[in-house]
Amino acid sequence: MSATAPMSATAPTSDLAAATKTDFPLLARDVYGKPIVYLDSAATSQKPQAVLDAMDAYYRTVNANVHRGAYHIADLATQAMEEARAKLQRFIGAASPREVIFCRNATEAVNLVAHSWGRTNLAAGDAVLLTHMEHHANIVPWHMLASERGVELRWLPLDDDGRLDLRHLDQLLDGARLVAFSAMSNVLGTIPPIRRIADAAHERGALVLLDGAQYVPHMPTDVAELGCDFLAFSGHKMCGPTGIGVLWGREELLEAMPPFMGGGEMILNVTTEGFLPNELPWKFEAGTPAIAEVVGLGAAVDYLDGIGMEAVRRHDVSLTAYALRTLTERHGETLTIHGPPEPAARGGVLSFEFGEVHAHDISQVLDTHAVCVRAGHHCAKPLMRRLGAVATARASVYIYNDRSDIDHLAEALDRVGDLFGPQ
């Protein structure tokens, strides 16, 4: 791929990072005596002090179980949780907080839809349309449903630049009840034409589930504009803690769906004969929720709102352009970067191959230079097969990364060449 992105129109990328880097305590540490170069935010982002403080303050001053106690701090805990839900509602442009379901992560959100909506609405002969760039989280739940219900899985192919090939979209949609796809690939960075696919799906009577695990942390998100019916995302990739994520769904769909898991909180009444499910959103939130994590995620939303998601996106595009240019200039002959060549068509996720060197070895050498990148199949084995790769190394950026991080990566790759290059 030739990655020659024009840089003229982009502002210096270091501005945002200069303002935010000191907000992230972990980024002040060193690794083997060198300052850490964290380039694995597509796996999980670092956490700003504001998020750590919010969770700490919750445990120190408010901790009580929610939606139960009639005492003061129980009421405060409930309020804290529901305020966070309202923040997330605004953050993604949802019509109502009733549409914001807290779950563990994007994976659980997809499983919720597959289990609850899928088992209610899909039968043998129905099709679910996926793409070749899906994360296993948006593949395996559908495989499980397919083998249980005889549902047919179909796959939208990719072109050689890692874009979805939509030439046969209409045919593939024929008989499909759901299109489930990533709004931003965790391997290629590809941002597909979401609205176009969603509109085509709706015309054919299919619903649309978006895996927003990479998209929501990096892009201004408005579910109405996206035109989806469900959106799944994780808190920990957007400055929030692990163990908390969101399923957004259109209210009438969620209303019609049966509960996912049974237990406390999700019921209105239980008798020896049966139960009556609670109203939305609690119908889908069985058991004591991850309250501190919800509060932390709310603080993460405040933090990102303070920066502005438009600014986050501009920073990503600018830094991605710099990375594509710098890495290609320095290592063009040995380096293959997967995904669309235009920074504006992708997120800040760069999966690459370096000569014949295995990604694990690349990552090992980079580690000695305190450069943290992911190596492996990135939970996307069908995509790896499509790329003809066993594994790739992946560098991914976020608001706290700057050009010097990319320069460190480019330099450390020289050492990979020294060790594994032609002898």
Binding site: H358, H360, Q364, V365, A391
Partner: protein, 145 residues
Amino acid sequence: MAGLEDLYREIVLDHYRNPRNRGELPCPPAQRAEGFNPLCGDEVVVYADVADGVVRDVRFGGQGCSISQSTASMMSVAVKGRSLEEVEKLERSFKSMMSIVTDGGETASPADLGDLEALRGVVKFPVRIKCATLCWNTLTETLRS
């Protein structure tokens, strides 16, 4: 920090660049098994031709990192022509070097690991131990079938 030279010893890189016994064997008479490392997606295929309790021939295939590929190469050299008991002893000694306690426990007299000794440094890189043991587990699978 353990240095890269502990991991990427010259013998290791040599087996990686010039793998011994890479290829396939006709099945039957040979047996074949596949192994996967779910962490990084590495895949290894091990073929073994066993007759009268002796590993007559062995081949390996698949794709993986320098550690997984060089271990497979060194392992193939080490087990070729050995009895099944000797192979088992080699595996136990190798895994013990990787700090893995096997069912049989520490052997009284550890087998001579030959070139495989060069992988001793892998134990300092815990994430890579799986790379070095993948082919051994796959060989065990092959010999069991």
